[in-house]
């Protein structure tokens, strides 16, 4: 029997569609109402509630916890202060990405790491003689994301500790009488928070958040809308935008942090004395310039898109539901120079956008590439421009509490 999340009892009656999918062994609502695009807009214009409990959660404790993570994670955990969180990667010895996740630092001997896929064996096998304990606490906690411009006001009304919380910071708080941890993190690219609760407290916390949201246009948001939001936000998804090196058969399937656009995590790679898994390979990649790709954002030329379809007698499709198979990219000489990994029509940006990999010489914003589409069963190309992700990046996402984004100004 597939498991349900700690919030299922509350969320199940709200799912008017009867549509569920499986996410890491749990039931997850595809959408709560037939118009998933309305859920998308709730996040962009009010706030949406997303049950993210199926994420794997590992508690990492012990005297050597920091040193251990500094050695296995690609990004330097020593730069993360207590009460902060880091988006991070872990790689193998060949410098290919195993997975990504968010690590929450409570203290030098206490961390919580989340990931989309199971990783207990991988991390445990790398402890060696260090004094570190890794526990899979996935089932003990639920996590509920409240994402969107109204999220701060709603959660701050429950506990002021949330009001001043900085981007990628977390804090203990109290909601619905329960002790929770609130982080300013999420998978939507908007202002947003995740509330981490003991499974037994899930109902009380859920009720408190729903009560505080009353009358503010807040609705539950399913996986379908979440996957639209994350593409605008430029947030990668395993098995879509990259594959775990552990389970890849060829290096073509693998990708490096630099190739996936995470060079910013490795600014000190040339000089650091931090030995971490994959360091030497990544150094060689950078020194020798062997990166094959760069992850970029793509903005499709709106008029060209429409023109190509119209010329074929077809009404130009504009579907916000992502295309998660590869679409090929060409340069002006029709050489194949990359491919999209996620593609969608963005309602916020009013054009098609993509997350894509291109050859490094075409990675500069403004570079022109041509996207292959099939129209009337024939290949055609549509003009695109390379842009720096995230393509949707409202100031409110990272802004301090005092500055509010003017209504509507979004990108």
């Amino acid at each position: 029997m597939i498991r349900t999340t700690p919030f299922h009892e509350r969320l199940a009656p709200l799912n008017r569609t009867g549509l569920w999918q499986h996410w890491s062994g749990h039931l997850a609502a595809v959408k709560y109402q037939m118009d998933d695009k309305f859920e998308y807009f709730a996040v962009r214009n009010a706030a949406g509630i997303v049950d993210t409990s199926p994420l794997y959660k590992y508690r990492i404790t012990g005297h050597d916890a920091e040193a251990f993570l500094a050695g296995v994670l690609t990004r330097d955990i020593r730069l993360c202060r207590d009460g902060q969180a880091q988006y991070t990667l872990w790689c193998d010895d060949s410098g290919h990405i195993v997975e990504d996740g968010v690590v929450f630092r409570y203290s030098s001997d206490h961390f919580l790491l989340t990931s989309a896929e199971p990783n207990l064996a991988w991390f445990s096998d790398r402890i060696g003689r260090q004094r570190v304990l890794i526990e899979d606490v996935s089932a003990q906690y639920g996590s509920l994301a409240l994402q969107g411009p109204r999220s701060r006001g709603i959660l701050a009304a429950l506990d002021d500790a949330v009001g001043g919380l900085g981007f990628f910071h977390h804090t203990p708080a109290k909601m619905g009488g329960a002790a929770v941890n609130v982080s300013r993190t999420g998978y939507t690219g908007d202002l947003g928070y995740e509330v981490w609760v003991e499974a037994d407290d899930a109902n009380a916390v859920f009720d408190a958040i729903v009560d505080a949201s009353a009358g503010q246009g807040v609705i539950p948001v399913g996986m379908s809308a979440l996957l639209m939001l994350r593409i605008e936000a430029g947030l990668v998804l395993i098995d879509v935008d990259f594959h775990s090196s552990r389970f890849a058969y060829t290096d073509e399937e693998r990708t490096t942090p630099v190739e996936l656009g995470f060079g910013w995590m490795l600014k000190d790679i040339a000089t650091t004395d931090r030995a971490f898994i994959g360091r030497d390979a990544i150094r060689r990649e950078l020194t020798d310039g062997t990166s094959r790709w760069r992850m970029v954002g793509l903005k499709v030329d709106w008029q060209d898109w429409d023109r190509r379809y119209r010329a074929e007698g077809i009404i130009p499709p504009k579907d916000e539901h992502p295309v998660v198979w590869e679409m090929m990219l060409y340069d002006d000489g029709m050489e194949r120079v990359g491919y999209t990994t996620s593609f969608m029509y963005s309602p916020a940006l009013q054009r098609h956008i993509a997350m894509a990999r291109v050859r490094p010489h075409l990675a500069a914003p403004g570079s022109k590439v041509h996207l292959e589409v099939t129209i009337n069963h024939r290949y055609q190309t549509v003009a695109c421009e390379v842009a720096r992700p995230p393509l949707f990046n409202p100031a409110r996402k990272t802004a301090a509490a005092s500055t509010t984004n003017p209504a509507g100004a979004s990108a």
């Binding site: 109402q33 037939m34 118009d35 695009k37 309305f38 807009f41 962009r44 214009n45 009010a46 109204r150 009353a214 009358g215 503010q216 246009g217 709106w302 008029q303 429409d306 119209r310 009404i315 130009p316 499709p317 504009k318 916000e320 029509y345 309602p347 916020a348 940006l349 009013q350 054009r351 003017p406 209504a407 509507g408 100004a409 979004s410 990108a411």
Partner: protein
């Protein structure tokens, strides 16, 4: 010359078309000034906070027809363009029945099938046929129409292109276009549907803003017009701009300013200056003269021609055609601030987020029209309502709501009374109708704003309160908007142009007139300087 500054172009009127036009002119490098009579830009596309926290879309209330080219060419997304989804179109009936069309096709089919199984696939057929019609007409909608009367080679070429385009259309599409351009919405819809509730809902797009009933010839073209829009690529879909249409015109103003256009508020123009058949600028109500070789009027044809310039400066046939041009505004708005969500028996307000269409049948609409024919407003009016705060919660305080109710038919000229006398009675009529369908509605009302055709005329300046700056009827479209021979944004006065909804493609928040007029102006300037019409009409 008393002018303190000179400009390359002055746009009269800061409504959406004036803003679009000014933005394009500024983008093309002209020093552009946009003059707005009121204290805020937007014209009939404004949002006003009439009670603290309650934002009313005083006049126009949804978006669909804004030309997609404008969104990208003026970089509107950067300036905050943000059309929200209106997920439902809900039509209640007095017997407790209801139908809801939504973005989800399966749900829509299921809903339609409850009333008629036959109508389910007929609805898909209707949508497909309409999309083909719109696809065929879109190039005409988005380009300067040819002048039938100029005798110029370029118009002859454009006409030949037009003929070629029409000849290239499938027979069924061309025939459908003619049926819509000349016939009634009822005749067209009757071929597809049998369900009265669905027909009431769909045919109401054939009467909005226009003095026709669904069975009048001429309602077909209105139906067509309201399907010419698109929302995220879906023809005929409507959205709600963040902050209402006032939010949209603020975006347009920011875009115009970003290209260097200057906007001057509380600057009513009393007259367009002309010397030897050429414009030199404008005179403001306070006597200030502002000079520019190009002056563009975003006002309606009656303001643009006989009011801003002396009729003796204009050809007689133009003066006569503008006199014959039909305004006859027939629409009002009643806006409510509500203490909570209205409930339809068996449904809660979250199940009709979007349009609520009070027209349970075509008979209902036709009867509502009957009263208008004889000079009175409908005792049971057609209402196109929207509880906008269920789409954009920033429109009202938490838990409270604003509801916009487009109200039809309310003729500008009342027989034996006037709108200052009838304003509250109209508000009562609308509120009574809503109470019938949503029991307890009146108890929710915190504030009511009634905007009659007379109020539209007084506040916005639209003659006779016509929301489209002149009726959308075939004799006033395309070759003939606003008058034969003057359909290319030029006027008989050199350098004086028109860009309001009284020009092609017409009313609604399309921005099309503003954009196309700017193309014409920029083209004229590149050739030989500000131009007059190629030849006098007729």
């Amino acid at each position: 010359m008393t002018a303190s500054r000179t400009y390359d172009a002055i746009v009269i009127g800061g409504g959406h078309n004036g803003l679009v036009n000014g933005a394009y002119l500024a983008k093309s490098g002209l020093r552009t000034l946009i003059l707005e009579r009121r204290h805020l830009v937007g014209g009939a596309a404004i949002t006003e906070e009439l009670m603290p926290g309650f934002h009313f879309t005083t006049f126009s209330y949804a978006v669909s027809l804004l030309r997609p080219d404008i969104i990208h060419e003026l970089d509107l997304v950067k300036h905050g363009y943000f059309p929200l989804l209106m997920p439902h179109s809900f039509a209640p009936a007095d017997d407790g029945g209801h139908i809801t069309l939504s973005k989800d096709r399966n749900l829509t089919i299921q809903e339609i099938s409850r009333h008629s199984r036959r109508d389910a696939d007929a609805y898909d057929q209707y949508g497909h046929d309409m999309a083909q019609i719109v696809q065929a007409l879109k190039p005409l909608f988005d380009s300067v129409p040819p002048n039938l009367f100029s005798g110029q080679a370029e118009d002859a070429l454009a006409l030949a292109d037009l003929a070629k385009h029409l000849k290239g259309l499938p027979q069924r599409v061309l025939h459908n276009i003619v049926r819509l351009l000349t016939g009634s919405a009822a005749d067209f819809l009757d071929d597809y549907f049998e369900g009265e509730l669905l027909k009431g809902l769909l045919s109401s797009s054939g009467i909005i803003g226009t003095k026709v009933g669904p069975r009048s010839q001429g309602s077909g073209v209105v139906l067509l017009f309201h399907n010419m829009g698109e929302q995220d690529g879906v023809f005929g879909n409507w959205g709600f701009h963040k902050g209402g249409n006032g939010g949209l015109t603020q975006v347009l103003a920011r875009a115009a300013q970003s290209f260097g256009a200057e906007i001057k508020l509380e600057a009513a123009v009393s007259k367009v200056l002309t010397t030897n058949g050429r414009t030199t600028g404008v005179v403001l109500a306070d006597g200030t003269e502002l000079h520019a070789p190009v002056v563009v009027s975003a006002l309606d044809p009656r303001r643009t021609f006989p009011e801003l310039v002396e009729p003796r400066e204009l050809p007689e046939d133009l003066v006569e055609n503008i006199q014959r041009y039909k305004f006859q505004g027939t629409s009002s708005k009643v806006n409510f601030a509500l203490d909570g969500l209205p409930e339809f028996p068996g449904l809660d307000g979250t199940q009709f987020r979007g349009f609520t269409n009070i027209a349970p049948s075509m008979d209902y609409l036709e009867r509502a029209f009957d009263e208008a024919k004889y000079g009175w407003y409908s005792s049971k009016p057609y209402l196109d309502c929207c509880i906008q705060s269920t789409i954009d919660p920033d429109m009202a305080p938490a838990g409270k709501h604003v509801m916009s109710c487009f109200t039809h038919y309310t003729p500008y000229k009342l027989k034996g009374s006037d709108w200052d006398t009838e304003r509250d009675n109209l508000g009562d009529t609308v509120q009574r109708r809503l109470e019938e369908l949503f029991p307890g509605f009146s108890k929710l009302v915190l504030r009511r704003e009634v905007v009659t055709p007379l109020d539209i005329e007084r506040t916005v300046g639209l003659s006779e309160g016509n929301i489209f700056a002149g009726e959308l009827m075939s004799p006033q479209l395309y070759f003939f908007r606003p008058a034969p021979g003057w359909n290319q944004y030029r006027t008989p006065i050199h350098g004086y142009y028109q860009c309001g909804s009284g020009t092609h493609p017409g009313g609604c928040v399309t921005g099309g007139p503003g954009r196309l007029a700017s193309q014409q102006i920029v083209r004229d300037l590149a050739r030989s300087g500000p131009a007059a019409g190629a030849a006098a009409g007729g």
